[in-house]
């Protein structure tokens, strides 16, 4: 009696679990807000394991930045999602479809900017965009795209006469002309001057505001910081950290660094050092790392004012995305030179 009811309980628990799992998987598969889902993705080239089990999700309207050193597997991952390469194993879904099937319907909803500009050099800007527009059922107006990427003045220029940055902008225009829901940008602002980069960032923000989703690979930490809702760091084919750029790798909990130059005639022992904190000194430069610098700064500046000393080169720094990235990827620079 006991046994049979127990096994019934067990059975119904298992069934309930299975049902919940099935529901969840239907829910996930049909959740229109999940634009990309990657689970356990692997890919090898010969003996080289380029991607060794990567998982992430991208939601609609989000910018996901994939960061990582060269050869970490970022481009391989992105190119599998774009449908250029088949995976070895893992589950992936892009806009609800499997990109390895290379459906035209899926390709029509995706815009791709590859690392190299790739357009016939003998066509003009307008011609290249017009031709590309012809491949989509609801393209954006060509003139609008030309304006969007800031190539109005180069409308009739042959592509081979454009500068590197202008060609990248044309690339972006070509990726956008099909009015895609999902856009892959592989190092999109390499070779841009600072103002062109800012303009591109504004463009990407505008795309997301319209509900489009962007997957960005970049080497510029300021770009990831400026654009991404979510950052995934890939090292040697694996995800080592992911999260919003402000909290990635415990960045929000990281210590604040206060640096300044020791006034002449003052030793470290004269400073109002908080209890249990040991400053690092090199020549005349002093560095304090502490969880909360508020009180210390108050004490320090109060001390300096009372003694009529000037704290030259005073800086207060929170860990930047780059600091976190470098420590995650094991590319930490040796203690920054503190001397003047």
């Amino acid at each position: 009696m006991y046994r049979s009811s127990g096994s019934r309980v067990l059975e119904s628990n298992v069934l309930r679990g299975l049902r919940a799992q099935a529901l969840r998987s239907i829910f996930v598969a049909n959740d229109p807000d999940i634009v990309i889902s990657v689970k356990g993705l692997t890919k090898s080239y010969g003996n080289f394991e380029a991607v060794r089990g990567i998982d992430f999700e991208v939601r609609r309207g989000e910018v996901l930045a994939l960061l990582g050193p060269n050869g970490a597997g970022k481009t391989t991952t992105v190119e599998i999602l774009e449908g250029f390469h088949d995976r070895d194993s893992g589950e992936i879904s892009v806009l609800g479809a499997d990109p390895s099937h290379r459906d035209r319907e899926l390709r029509a909803k995706i815009g791709i900017v590859l690392q190299a500009c790739a357009v016939d050099p003998f066509l003009t800007v307008t011609e290249a965009i017009t031709q590309r527009a012809g491949l989509y059922s609801n393209p954006r107006p060509v003139g609008e795209v030309v304006d969007l990427v800031g190539l109005e003045a180069k409308r009739r220029a042959r592509i081979k006469t454009l500068s590197g940055g202008q060609q990248r902008r044309l690339d972006l225009g070509l990726a956008l002309v099909g009015d895609p829901e999902l856009i892959f940008l592989d190092e999109p602002t390499t070779g841009f001057d600072p103002s062109a980069r800012r303009e591109s960032w504004a463009l990407v923000r505008g795309l997301c505001a319209e509900g489009r989703t962007v997957v960005l690979t970049t080497h510029y930490m300021d770009e990831a910081q400026a654009l991404a809702n979510s950052v995934t760091v890939i090292v040697a084919g694996k995800v080592v950290a992911s999260g919003p750029p402000d909290t990635l790798g415990g960045r929000d909990r990281g210590e604040t660094t206060v640096r300044f130059t020791l006034p002449s005639g003052v030793t470290v022992d004269d400073l109002p050092t908080p209890l249990g904190i040991c400053p690092r000194v090199r020549h005349h430069a002093v560095e304090f790392s502490l969880p909360d610098a508020t009180t210390f700064l108050h004490d320090l500046t109060g001390w300096a004012v009372a003694r009529a000393e000037t704290l030259e080169h005073l800086t207060v720094k929170r860990p930047s995305l780059e600091d976190v990235y470098l420590s995650l990827t094991g590319e930490v620079d040796e203690l920054e030179e503190l001397e003047e």
Partner: protein
């Protein structure tokens, strides 16, 4: 958008890009015309053994062969290699265009170029060198079409042995010129000669013989079935090899 319209669009842009790139156009169009005018005029209208064609008339036919091979094998092969290595092909593959529309547009543009060079060269021959309108029109058209098929297939196949875009002109011209030279394109060769025996292995000689047959009259003229079949064997072999080895992307960096 329907695939046929997209192919037509592709063809239009292929033609635009082609005529804006002087190197390819000069080689394919200027070379046969200039050679025909200079050598054809200089060498005159002497008789050729075992043929109803005069020497300059023979050159009209072989310069058509030269133009056709240049438009199909050389231009197509180099274009595909450069597009592959600069990432154009990869980029195209990421758009919703069908492979049929893209390839159709490219081949359509090649066919237009071959038609233009045919009109140009045969026109010069008929006006300047008393060349008769092909006695065997069907044979001429079919031989030309088989020639386009064969040398486009070879243009595709050669991309598999070209390592990168910069090497494309060297590899492609390096295989094109020697074969064209021994196949009787610049001067008539005796079928029994050693060169001709070697040339018989390659498809160029068969295109020359097929087209000469279509422009001649008298015994032995008309459809050169054997030559057409040998070209078709080359076409099938090149297509199978080319499609199997085709790469959309540059070799791994």
């Amino acid at each position: 958008m329907n695939d046929l319209l997209i192919a037509k669009d592709q063809l239009r842009y292929e033609q635009k890009a082609y005529w804006r790139n002087p190197v390819a156009a000069v080689f394919t169009f200027m070379f046969p015309v200039v050679f025909l005018l200079v050598v054809g005029t200089g060498a005159g209208s002497g008789k050729i053994a075992n043929s109803s064609l005069r020497y300059n008339q023979y050159l009209v036919v072989t310069m058509l062969v030269f133009g056709l091979i240049s438009a199909c094998y050389t231009n197509l092969g180099i274009t595909l290699c450069i597009r592959r290595d600069s990432g154009v092909l990869k980029r195209i593959r990421g758009t919703p265009i069908s492979i049929g529309s893209y390839v159709g547009g490219i081949i359509g543009s090649v066919v237009i170029n071959v038609a233009l060079i045919t009109l140009l060269v045969v026109g010069i021959g008929m006006v300047g060198y008393n060349l008769h309108f092909p006695y065997h029109l069907a044979a001429a058209v079919i031989t030309l079409l088989v020639g386009v098929l064969t040398f486009c297939a070879l243009g595709l196949a050669v991309t598999a042995i070209v390592p990168n875009g910069e090497a494309a002109p060297a590899v492609i011209n390096g295989t094109f010129f020697p074969v064209v030279f021994i196949s009787g394109v610049f001067y008539p060769i005796n079928n029994e000669s050693v060169l001709s025996q070697i040339a018989t292995f390659f498809p160029v000689r068969h295109l020359v013989k097929g087209l000469v047959g279509a422009f001649e009259n008298g015994p032995g003229s008309g459809f050169q079935v054997r030559d057409i079949l040998i070209m078709l064997i080359w076409a099938v072999g090149a297509l199978v090899f080319g499609l199997r080895k085709f790469r959309w992307e540059p070799r791994h960096r």
